[in-house]
Each structure stands twice: as C-alpha cells, then as structure tokens.
C-alpha cells in the first residue's frame, strides 16, 4: 500500500548528488544574459535616463524599457497593478526600470551599473498609518487596498457578559523568504517559433497567462516549464524573471537567461506582510471565550500582490482554532512605498497565531487556568462552528492534537530561566471562498507505461512523491509502470499554484479521480487479470481513449459582506509545545525542544510530513527570534538571520489522522500548518521563562534586554 508509507523522495538522489538542474544551471547555445535595472529611490518620478555609457560596453545587445512592451505592462495575481518596467514613476526601492541584454553576464551587469538615472524624489510613505492619513496617493484608487470583515453575534453583548477582558497590540516584521535558490530562468524560441520559458516557479499555467498578456500573444504561443526549484515559500508565485525573459526572447529571438544574485533577490522579491494586530478578548471566569474584537492593519508595500488574500485570511482565522460566539474582525491592507509584500508560507496566519495564542495564554494566566485546559475548553470540535459560521462536521482533529501533547505538558519540569509554551492553529486548505480547481491527466502509451501528467509544481516540499503515491495506490501498480511529466503547460493541465497547502488535498484528489477513471478502463480491459499495458494501449488507441482526466474543486461558498460563509472545504489543525532556555546574562533565547502534533487527515508519506514540520519549526524560530527585513538596510543574508541547523531543537512529531472525506484517502495539507503555531509557542514559552509578554517580533536579545530594562512584563 503506497499511501501511508515513508517511501524515498523521487528527487532525493539527484539533489544529493548535485545532478538536479535548477533554473540557473540551464545552458543554451548562444544564450544572452539579462539584468534588470532597479530604482534607487523609494518614491520618485524619473527625470532622465542616460544609457550612453552602457550602449558602448562591448557585448551589450539591447536595453529595453516599458516602451518595448507589446502587450500590457501590468501584472498581479488578483489586481494587475504592478508594471514590469517603470513608466517614469517608481513606488519602491527596487522597482524595475530597464532590462539590459548582453552577450555575457558580466557585460550585462557592468552596463546595468553604468546607467545613470536622475530622479525627482517624492514624499515617501513607509507605514500603514501614514498611508491612511496622507494625501500622497501611491495608486490612483487611493492607498487602502482592501478592507475585510468577519462579524458574528453581538460584540457589545459578548464583552458585557465577560468576566475578564484582555487587550493587547501585537506587531510583526517584514520577512524575506530566503529560499536557497534565487530566482532564475531561461527562455528561447522553439522550432515552431513559440516562446518557451523554463524557470524556478510555484506555478506554470498562471505564468503562461501573464506572459501572453505581456506580449499580446495567444497563450498557445507560450510554453512555461518548471525547472527544478530550490524553495518557494510563496515567493515564486508572483512573476519573477519570467516576464523579463519572455520580453527579451521576443525582441532578440535568442535564448536568454536571467538569474538574480542574492541581493537582487532580496531587493526584488515580495516580503511577508508586517501586521499590527489590536486584539481584545473577553472570557468568563470559567475560561470560556465570549467575544473577540480584532483590528488588523497590514502593509502591502508598493503593489497589491497577495495583499488581499492575506487581509482576508487574517480576518477569517483571527480567532484561532476556538469557538467564539461574538466576533468583530476588521482587516485592512494599505499601500506604502515599502517593498511589495506577497505570499509567504501561511498568508498572514503565523502573524495571527502569535496574537491569538498570546491572548489565550494571558487569559489563562489571569484566570488561573492551565494553558492547555483553556484550549481544551474552547477548542473547535466536530459540530462546532468557526467564526465564519461554518459548521465543522468532519476531520476536526484539534482536540486530538491537545490530547497528544497533554502527557508531555503534564510532565514538564522547569529549571531556572527555562520555559514552556503552547501554540495552536487551524488553517483552511486551499484558496479562500473562491473556486480553486486542479486537473490532472493520465495517458496510456505505446511503451507500455502510464504517463502521469501533473501540473503541480514540486518546490522541494515533496508533492511529486506524495502525488505519485496517491496514483500508485489508486491504480495498484508499481512506480516502474509510471512516468511523471511535471509542470509543463504543453504537457499538463492547470493544477493551480503550489500554495495554500493545497496540492496534496486538491491535486491529490484530482490524481485519485484520474486514477480511478483509468483503473475502471484497465479493469474492463483485463489488465488486472494479466493483460499487458502495451496490448491495452493498442486497443485504447483504436477506441480513441488514451487520456484519462481527474478534476477536483473543493466545495466552498464565497464569504458575504459580514465574512460569513464556507471559505474552505477542510481545515488542518496543530499544536506545538516548545521549551526555551534563556541565557540570563545576554537574554539570548534558544529553543531546546518542540513537540508538534498535527492533524493531517491522512499521512500519505509520514517521513515527508516530518520533514515539512522540521522546516516549519526552523522558519518559526526565524520569525520569533531572529529574522527581520529592514527596507533599504537588509541587502543580503549577512544581516538577515535565518535559523541554521545549530538553532534547531530536538523535535518530536505526532501525526493525527482524522480523515477528510473529500480528500485523497483522507489527506489534508501540512505545508503551512508546520510553521504557523511555532513562533506563538516560543513567545508563550518566553513568558513562562521570564515573565515578559512579547508584543513585537522578532524578540532577539536586544528587544528582550530592553524590555527587561524597562521593567519586564
């Protein structure tokens, strides 16, 4: 039975041996190199561009500006507000202006550096509160990108029946994804004269669409293929190099490579949204939540990207995995002249969990209730309703995650300067209240193999392996009988993006359905009684039935203006328990141990899930203790601290399988849930160790010391 087995990852060996070809490893004969020239001002009009020196550098082929764009100079996943190349106006430090193409990377970089741009600086806006008040408009429609609400019950009544009200404001920081592989891709013309792009990406079909619009070409004239991708975490969902590569091929008819250096990546790439979360919670003295009032104000930077998604998700998940009868959540997102913020593992929920889990612990402390107990009292269970009024009828393993942690929690023994904390989360799998389908197809082939045509991007998280396991399970065949063809717009159907922890659940289901369609046919043709696939293929060809498709779109309903509805078909649940140790002289916090319990529906590949959880914990340590991107100051990894192996604690994982009936063999997702509760559990552990309630991330030694000096709590 392939499902449930920790089979080896398909990509493990070639990556370990260094044989995998990532975006920057691809070579084509006669390849040009492209470099994007970026703004050195955060908010300015461009007065003059002098490329005369650059034009003289040997090897320079072309310097392209927005005038060279044949189609639309705008992209964006929801709102098309971001220009590929500036039209004389720049909105952030790093906004792209020109594209230099040259015979060598050196010539391209030298030429890019020699271009002189004079600016007329404009007043910049560097925070959502100044954005809200200022007369300066960053976009024509104003600075407020969106406002999302979730309203339920009667908030006044909720607080008036509370015995205790706790109110705090939490602040989070900009983060960079810091994926191992920087953005890279190549493009060229194929023998039919179509533009082919091979890039490091989390989605191919979306990128084909954007490139077609950019070049004013039909989608059939564009082919996008995913290169082996060294991490994404949401940062390779937006257009990165693809538009520039396509534009360069369009104008030169030659192969072109664009690969970002780390500093270019940090300048160009989207960031995690900093959120200011004002959180008021009411509870009765027996620990039952009566009301929450939450105001989330986010900074989406210069362009929309996934800002609306983050605002929406933050509102929908504002309570955490608890039943709350009276709710008023308002979530706003503002444009600023900071770098554009986009998708990053968890879409705002790691930030929200920091707030709601801190609130839970404060209420527990003030009421004298054990932190685990207060979560048991309020936790979502089967039959309960979320704050969007969605009644949960199946696969609600939250209480099980608490029960799994409980023995460790009861056994905890605290030494000096040590502390323990809990963090819980729930997370809607897939996009919020909108259709987000996935398709997949299988082919019978002359060589007697089954072609597995998968549109889902493997970005290092393990989807190739997991989805193959689902197929093998469905078809009852071995891996040798299947050939995987992945993430190629010519050879696969749109599976949606690798984001929102959706590939195992949604594409997994599409794979299962395609597998079942093929299995029915194979049964009919006697495959399971010993007929060969080669033989069956010949018959299938005659009948014109060599392609078998699976399609799944999870059942959701859109949210109404009060934020009520069924935004997700299923939710993942998790609880992390974390032990920290504080070095008293320096206030350096080290994470010593984490016990992570996750309801994954069904563990298709338990070892892979554990890998995801370890990675999520590492990222959570970064969010809580060390990572902080400061626009204009953080230029490379030398002053952007991500956790290394030395910062990793001992980790114990507990997998809970409360099956999701609509998922493939009961599976849900774990990619983002792995991260979401971690930072929250760390700050709660720091409270336990030091008595200090952390309201601002990251809490590095500097912040902890200053808080200690100012009197602690």
């Amino acid at each position: 039975m392939p499902v449930g087995k920790p089979i080896e990852r398909l990509d493990a060996l070639e990556k370990v041996l260094g044989a995998a070809k990532f975006g920057a490893d691809i070579k084509r004969e006669g390849m040009l190199y492209g470099v994007v020239v970026r703004s050195q001002k955060a908010h300015a009009r461009i007065h003059h561009i002098d490329t005369s020196q650059a034009q003289m550098i040997p090897g320079v082929v072309k310097i392209l500006s927005f005038r060279d764009i044949p189609g639309k100079n705008r992209f964006g996943v929801l709102r098309k507000d971001q220009p590929y190349l500036s039209e004389g106006y720049v909105r952030f430090l790093g906004d792209p202006i020109l594209l230099v193409l040259a015979e060598s990377e050196r010539a391209a970089r030298e030429a890019a550096a020699s271009i002189r741009i004079t600016y007329g600086e404009l007043e910049g806006i560097f925070g959502p509160s100044s954005s809200a008040l200022s007369n300066v408009k960053i976009h024509e429609d104003g600075n407020l990108l969106c406002q999302k609400k979730v309203i339920r019950g009667d908030i006044q009544k909720g607080f008036s029946t509370s015995d205790l009200v706790v109110e705090n404001t939490y602040q989070t920081q900009f983060l960079d994804h810091a994926f191992l592989e920087c953005e890279a891709g190549v493009g060229f013309l194929d023998e039919l004269g179509r533009i082919v792009i091979i890039s490091s990406t989390q989605n191919v079909h979306y990128k084909r669409k954007e490139v077609a619009t950019l070049l004013a070409l039909p989608e059939e004239k564009i082919r996008v293929i995913q290169a082996t991708t060294g991490g994404g975490f949401g940062g390779k969902l937006d257009m990165t190099v693809e538009g520039y590569v396509a534009l360069a091929v369009y104008h030169t008819k030659r192969p072109v490579m664009i690969r970002y250096t780390r500093s270019e990546s940090m300048l160009a790439n989207t960031k995690r949204h900093p959120l200011t979360i004002s959180y008021k919670t009411g509870a009765t003295k027996d620990g039952r939540l009566t009301a929450i009032q939450v105001r989330v104000v986010g900074d989406t930077g210069a362009y929309a990207s996934y800002g609306e998604v983050v605002a929406q998700r933050a509102a929908v998940h504002a309570s955490g995995p608890y039943e709350v009868p009276n709710v008023y959540v308002e979530s706003l997102m503002y444009y600023t002249n900071n770098p554009p913020c986009g998708a990053m593992r968890g879409f705002g929920i790691p930030q929200m969990a920091f707030a709601h889990e801190s609130q839970m612990d404060e209420i527990a402390r003030l009421l004298g209730i054990d932190p685990l107990q207060i979560r048991l009292i309020n936790g979502l269970k089967r039959g309960a309703s979320t704050i969007t009024g969605q009644r949960l009828t199946h696969s609600v393993g939250y209480i099980d995650t608490l029960k799994a942690i409980e023995p460790f929690w009861r056994d905890r023994r605290k030494g000096d300067w040590e502390g323990y904390g809990l963090g819980s989360m729930y997370y809607g799998i897939g996009n919020t209240g909108v259709p987000n389908p996935s398709s997949c197809y299988l082919t019978l082939r002359e060589d007697g193999k089954i072609g597995f045509h998968l549109g889902a991007c493997e970005i290092g998280q393990g989807s190739d392996t997991v989805l193959l396991q689902i197929l093998l399970q469905t078809l009852s065949v071995g891996p040798e009988g299947v050939e995987l063809i992945r993430a190629d717009t010519d050879l696969s159907k749109d599976a949606g993006s690798t984001s929102a922890s959706r590939q195992t659940y949604i594409t997994g289901k599409a794979v299962q359905l395609a597998g079942e369609a093929l299995k029915g046919y194979l049964e009919e043709k006697g495959f399971y009684r010993g007929r060969s696939l080669k033989e069956i293929y010949l018959e299938a060809k005659e009948e014109g039935r060599i392609l078998f498709e699976g399609f799944f779109d999870p059942p959701t309903t859109p949210l109404d203006p009060q934020g009520q509805g069924i935004p997700y078909a299923t939710y993942a649940f998790a609880t992390h328990m974390t032990k920290v140790e504080i070095e008293p002289a320096t206030m350096r916090c080290r994470v010593k141990k984490v016990i992570a319990a996750h309801d994954v529906g069904r563990a298709v590949n338990p070892v892979n899930i554990r890998g995801q959880i370890y990675g999520g914990i590492a990222m959570g340590i970064g969010l809580a203790l060390m990572e902080e991107f400061v626009p204009g100051k953080t230029l490379n990894l030398n002053n952007y601290y991500v956790a290394t192996i030395k910062d990793m604690p001992e980790v114990e994982t507990i997998l809970i399988e409360d099956p999701e009936p609509t998922g493939p063999y009961g599976a849900k997702g774990v990619g983002e849930p792995a991260l979401i509760p971690q930072a929250a559990s760390i700050v709660n552990a720091i409270r336990d160790a030091t008595g200090m309630r952390i309201l601002k991330l990251p809490c590095n030694f500097e912040r902890l010391w200053l808080q200690r000096l100012s009197g602690g709590t």
């Binding site: 990377e105 050196r106 970089r109 550096a113 250096t261 500093s263 000096d416 300067w417 008293p584 002289a585 320096t586 206030m587 350096r588 080290r590 203790l625 060390m626 030398n638 601290y641 956790a643 290394t644 030395k646 910062d647 030091t690 008595g691 590095n700 030694f701 500097e702 010391w705 200053l706 200690r708 000096l709 602690g712």
Partner: protein, 282 residues
C-alpha cells in the same frame, strides 16, 4: 560579480615581499573570507596577492611552540591540541568563527590585518600579549598586536609588509575563556565579545586579563579593570566600581551609541558571571 584584476600567486615569502614592493595598488588575500565579499560587492582592486600558497608562511600550530603562522586557518587553530591546551581562549574563539566553510578558509593573519571591530580572534590574542613579526623586503620589525590596531579596518601594517609570524605568551595557572553575543549560534557576527583569563583562589583575584571586542572601534585590553581588581581580595563592591570605570572607558573610546543601551548591561552581566559574582535575578 568579481571585478577584473591581476592575481599574483607567489610560492615563497621572498617572492611575495618582492611583489608587494613592486606593485603599488595591491591587496593581500590570506583566506579571502572578507576580501572576496568586498570584491563581490563592487570594491575595485588592481592587483591581488594571493599568499595562500606561500609555504614559509604556513606551519602547523604548535610545531614552533608559542608561534603561530599567519596562514593558520581558524579550523587549524580550533583543531589543534596544542592550542587547546596552551591558549584555550583563542581555541574557543576560533571554533566559533562563521561556519565550517569560513573556518576552513579564513586565517588568523587575515583576521588581524582586516582589523574588524568584531574579529573573534583579536580579543584572545590580546590577552596573550600577541606580538607580530612584520616583514618587508628591507627587513623586519616586532610589534605588539595592541599597538598596530589603529581603528576599524585600519592597522599600522605598512603596504609592503606581511605578517610573518605571531608570537603568543601562554598563561599558566589561569582559567580562560571566550564569550560572545550573537543573534544565532553560527554564521553570525559577534555583537559583543569577551576574552578573559583569571588566576584566582577562593579569596583573591591574583591576576586577571580581560579583552573586549565588538563594542569599541577596536577590540581592547581592559587594563584599568585588570589593575583595579587584580591582586585584590574578591569583593562585590570593588567589582562594581571597576565595572563603572570600565563602562566609562568604553564610552570614551566609542562615544554614545544607541546599541549601548543593551550592550553595556549585557557586558556587565557577562563580567559578573565570569568573575563569579553573577546576578541571575530577574
């Protein structure tokens, strides 16, 4: 992207010193862990003198007792039993530098010549009264490490000179150590570092050495502090007084800095911890 430059790779010290005398604009590469980063980020250089192949600037740590070679890498220092036994503070500091890759490439001579305020090897070298031999084509001179550190990334080593050896005085009967403050445990710059050596018993601080890095423009020996408590009976009040003076010295050297708000209380806590009258109260 590296700039284009001429690279010289001498095999002997004589050859290296001749090139240094002949070429005007030249940078020495002893490990490259700082220099390459600077070059990658746009620093221009016409000539590079790669001394990593110069055999007579490189020998095993401990093979010429008390003299280490400028080309000893951090990994060699922190892998040497001789260093561990005789210079434990240096041993510890070198074991914490960067990452295994950086420790394999970066050298002690390079760390000195680069003269970063945050160099991990410098505070321990200061407590051993490190003395450098600086050689040029015309001759050689002996200089105390403390006297050639002139400012951040600035030393008194002349353009045509190379560090040819580093002499250290071992401390016997001392307990020694190195502590540093970083945001994470590896691949991190020291935000504050302390190298110390103490010869004491239950009653007395007989003799102490203390050097501090990453706090002032150059790492320094806290001589006033050493004199104030060295040879004295252990006493909390005495220590606190010496700490106050030390903080004043730091402020004189560095001026007022926003980071002092947390660095100074941390320095005091670290020193209290080292000198055995720690205050771990919350």
């Amino acid at each position: 992207m590296l700039p284009i430059f001429k690279c010289h790779t001498p095999k002997s010290k004589e050859e290296a010193l001749s090139i240094l005398t002949e070429e005007e604009k030249i940078k020495v590469l002893a490990g490259g862990t700082d220099l390459l980063v600077e070059l990658q980020s746009g620093k221009k250089v016409e000539n590079l003198l790669d001394i990593t192949q110069v055999a007579d600037l490189k020998w095993d740590p401990g093979s010429k007792a008390q003299i280490i070679s400028p080309l000893n890498t951090h990994a060699e220092i922190s892998g040497s039993a001789f260093i561990r036994e005789n210079f434990p503070a240096l041993f510890k500091a070198c074991s914490l530098v960067g990452s295994p890759q950086i420790r394999n490439m970066g050298t002690i001579g390079g760390n000195i010549a680069n003269a970063s305020p945050a160099a991990d090897s410098i505070p321990p070298l200061l407590i051993y009264d490190a003395e450098l031999t600086l050689e040029s084509k015309g001759g050689s001179r002996q200089m105390a490490l403390a006297s050639i550190l002139e400012g951040p990334y600035r030393t008194g080593i002349l353009n045509h000179e190379l560090i040819s050896s580093i002499y250290l005085k071992p401390l016997s009967g001392f307990r020694e150590g190195y502590k540093r403050l970083t945001i994470r445990d590896s691949l991190a710059l020291s935000r504050l570092s302390v190298a110390y050596a103490i010869r004491d018993d239950r009653e007395m601080w007989h003799e102490i050495r203390l050097a501090i890095g990453s706090l002032t423009p150059i790492p320094f020996r806290a001589e006033g502090f050493e004199r104030a408590i060295g040879g004295q009976r252990k006493d909390r009040g005495l220590l606190e007084g010496a700490l106050t003076d030390l903080v004043n010295t730091v402020r004189e050297m560095a001026g007022e800095r926003p980071t002092h708000r947390f660095k100074i209380p941390i320095l005091k806590e670290l020193i209290r911890e080292i000198f055995g009258v720690g205050d771990a109260s919350r």
